[in-house]
Assembly symmetry: D3
Homo-oligomer: 215 residues x 6
């Protein structure tokens, strides 16, 4: 979240949700505590950046809040559009490829996506392994997408991959988008422009008072 | 749900979720209690029919369970395909048009959908109003979709519209699909064929034991 | 076809058409005797399942008859939708790949189809060859579509492949849809729901008496 | 058909098929005598133009013959592409709109088609009615497609409309494509270029001798 | 353009090109002086914002320069994505609707665009007319796109419309994107993130020295 | 260009533009002298064939002139449609793949294009190298597109490849379209049919006198 002073960011963690979103099940289990927590933040921030590379929760937050809310997946895809012919997304587990392809299709961006690929990170509770190994695996996946499918930009598909962005940039010849930073930049741009999600269509406020949904 | 004897159906209601899904917010707030409830059903039913005209929860249930799980929206669209050129969906509130269009696109069926339209039902707690008025409003919406957009079949987009199916059929010249019945028929067909959702892709089981997601 | 008693099926073979549909030419040559035969069946069955994995004839039968008519290709694709992320179809000859891709596109389902692939069955008059060899070939094709293209369900693209469904299921980790059984289940579901193809659009009755078309 | 001398055209009529293609049923009933007749033509013409605004038969003829075969619908759409932003097709009966939309989609040209619309010609055996009335109806349909949907070119969707092309051109401000003439021009262009349909994919020859399909 | 100090913007006008881009012809005539001018700027700015609502020139500038270059049309569409279900674009003349639809399609964003509509501004040399009249015309176009087509956000399709943004926001219930401001914000975001267009695909440098193209 | 006598063609070269179009930059630099030259031709030819495998200039020429103007890329794709299931395009440098994919998408033909591939011609000023080597490279690219992606027709994507068409046809089993010849045939067909680009939409004349654009 971006605080009231605009250069002053606060961080909020959904401690009552699962620690990592590794499935639609996890995404969905995270929903109720996420929505309850964000709708009660005080003071209300100027904008919300959701640091999960998914979008189910994002749409609900956009309905519930009056400030701009942006998911880091949509932020990264958004900034990728003017920079490339076709982007690739590398996600954190083969399990998440179909999930991420659905994100892309729901955003209406399938024509601009060359491929969704995966590396295999260890479980979140296990040691991450040596950086060099993970960077090499990322670089291999990126090169394959570039050479075989014509991808000319890559989006890191999850904040667990963010620590490797700098090292990856040194070894691949195409831009690497780190989605947390993209989310912050897009949120700041929206605040400066005085824009937020349209409340006249897909993101109209829920018709009941929010407390009614906690039956 | 369809019980172990196959002609014997049990009904389960997500009493800890909101009483009606009228937004992505409601959909998402319903998630946690829905998933907890369904994953603890005993005995495990032969199949699950989800009686909400949405699909976010559906994918999570398909991941979590080993029996076929089907949402009534996808069941109705599925059976519509061989019966028509292009279907229309009538949903229960203008608020839900964008939500439902996303359902259709995520299912990959936008080419076969002529339009999503809405009637305006009163809030769920208010009296439903006279049947004749609602049927007339439905018929007007259906006729417009048929004449202007070439829809030749209509799907009722929510179980709140199911009571009007029979009366609507008497006044419109195209097939009317009532999605609860479609869900039951597709679920039974899958059980008879020994089929369930593929566990090798989009619906693979969540990687952690389910209890881990309840942090 | 499903007989009047609904559990009682009769089989009808288009003896005046070519014995196997191996081209658009064969499909088209089969048309006239197929339509003449089916439109004269007595008693009229409750539903028709067309056991060819094509759709040209299907649309004509849907126009001509007042009972639900379903092709086994559309039935299988229809039931695949709620079960998978993206399906593959394996057809009986490389010759039929383009034909089958057109089927998928005409159904508006290209977004959900990962690939159409082929095995090479011997000509219909020749011995079928050992089952183990054909199953191994099928399994190889399925595995390639799964690993390279993310297919998580496979449809057998022709009734000549039906005898191998059970053996194939034992060796591949994704659901295998046998289209004849799918056709029967979908037809029965439609009969129970009182549904048939819409007569208000694509499947409106031919404008002349049927005998006029036999010039 | 275009005869061996290239400026010398012969006409062949499928006298054993229905006199007008007004449904998929008619299209399909026409198939067997069409294919038998064309595959026995002697001398073999340099090219075939199929004067029905449909395509099922077209693909079978392309398989069966070694000379270029072109349907007038595909010829007209083909020549429309470099001339417009988006074309409209006017067909001869509301009954044929869905049929024609399928033609467009199967050709992969839906993005370039603004609309398929219909006038209502009298049955083929009835008097055609005064030209002025039909031209006025055509002009009204064309203007609506132009103003409301941005169509900037119109294709006459059936040779029964060809007699009105000249009069229509005098009253509408967009190009009017008459498909028989388009078919002849495309066929001649293909002959001059030494091209015919590819025999390596969708239009490969039927695998059996043609006589085998007449069982 | 955004100057080296990043809060310090310089403005450059293509004085050797046509004063307004009202056709592909104008766009194309503007190209040579635009490219010559921009490739000789000194000092090189940190980023370029192209203030024409088109994209032909944009791609050439992205090839030629090593700093981020962004067109205002792509910037506005980019920022619209996370804010809406489907956007509308209002352009400055009916003449430009097809041109703008091509922009949207080339960007791969047709699924997210509800409509391109136009007002009729007077020629650039004529007096602009009273603001109230133009705002009323804009509001009428926006409301029609919102009510009939479900657009829930509008992009002003040309900098000639920018002066009316504030007044329009007071009378329409959906967000109004002014593309010059969007271009500046996206350019600044890219500079802060250290990103520019990928030089490994669509925007690779021209293979010859730039002076070679001025033959 | 096709001269007034229709069998009598004149050739015009854009001597003030770059000698080869190898980038969007080159395309754009070619624009101003191309448009100036063509709009001053005297006598006005019956039709214009633009011998560059691009389309930016094509649209501007279609706006400016009243005679049919056709680009060789669109002519080749146009004639390919009735001949194949899916075509491949082979372009003259890897640099041009993205450029050419955009051409295909802008034409609305992506569904019919199996792939865009490239060979690597030497720079235009260098010796072309032995024909056998280039033909072998072309044949390898074509075979890969045929076997791996199902392409059943190939378009040579640039007139620098035209000299190899005949040799290539002897070694690949699918039709090879040489685009200059296609452009001439389509232009002649349009002249014979009395057709030109629609002036009521995308190709309406520029609103100012042409001299106004030369500021």
């Amino acid at each position: 979240m971006i605080g009231a002073e605009r250069r002053w960011a606060v961080q909020w963690t959904n401690r009552q949700g699962p620690p990592v979103i590794d499935s639609v099940y996890a995404d969905y289990m995270a929903g109720r505590p996420l929505l309850r927590g964000l709708s009660r933040l005080h003071p209300v921030p100027d904008a919300i950046v959701l640091a999960g590379f998914g979008n189910y929760g994002t749409a609900a937050v956009k309905e519930a809040l009056d400030v701009p809310a942006i998911g880091m997946a949509e932020a990264a895809m958004t900034l990728a559009l003017p920079l490339c012919h076709r982007f690739a997304i590398v996600t954190t587990a083969p399990r998440m490829i179909a999930y991420t392809e659905d994100l892309v299709r729901l955003a209406g961006l399938a024509e601009r996506c060359a491929a969704v690929r995966a590396v295999s990170l260890p479980p979140i509770a296990a040691p991450a392994g040596p950086e060099a190994r993970i960077v090499a695996e990322l670089a291999g996946v990126v090169d394959a997408a570039r050479v075989e499918l014509g991808a000319d930009l890559v989006i890191l598909g999850g904040s667990r991959l963010s620590p490797y962005a700098a090292a990856l940039r040194r070894v691949v010849p195409i831009p690497v988008l780190e989605p947390v930073a993209c989310g912050v930049q897009v949120a700041e741009a929206l605040v400066r422009l005085g824009l937020r999600q349209s409340k006249a269509g897909r993101f109209a406020p829920p018709p009941q008072p929010l407390s009614e949904y906690e039956a």
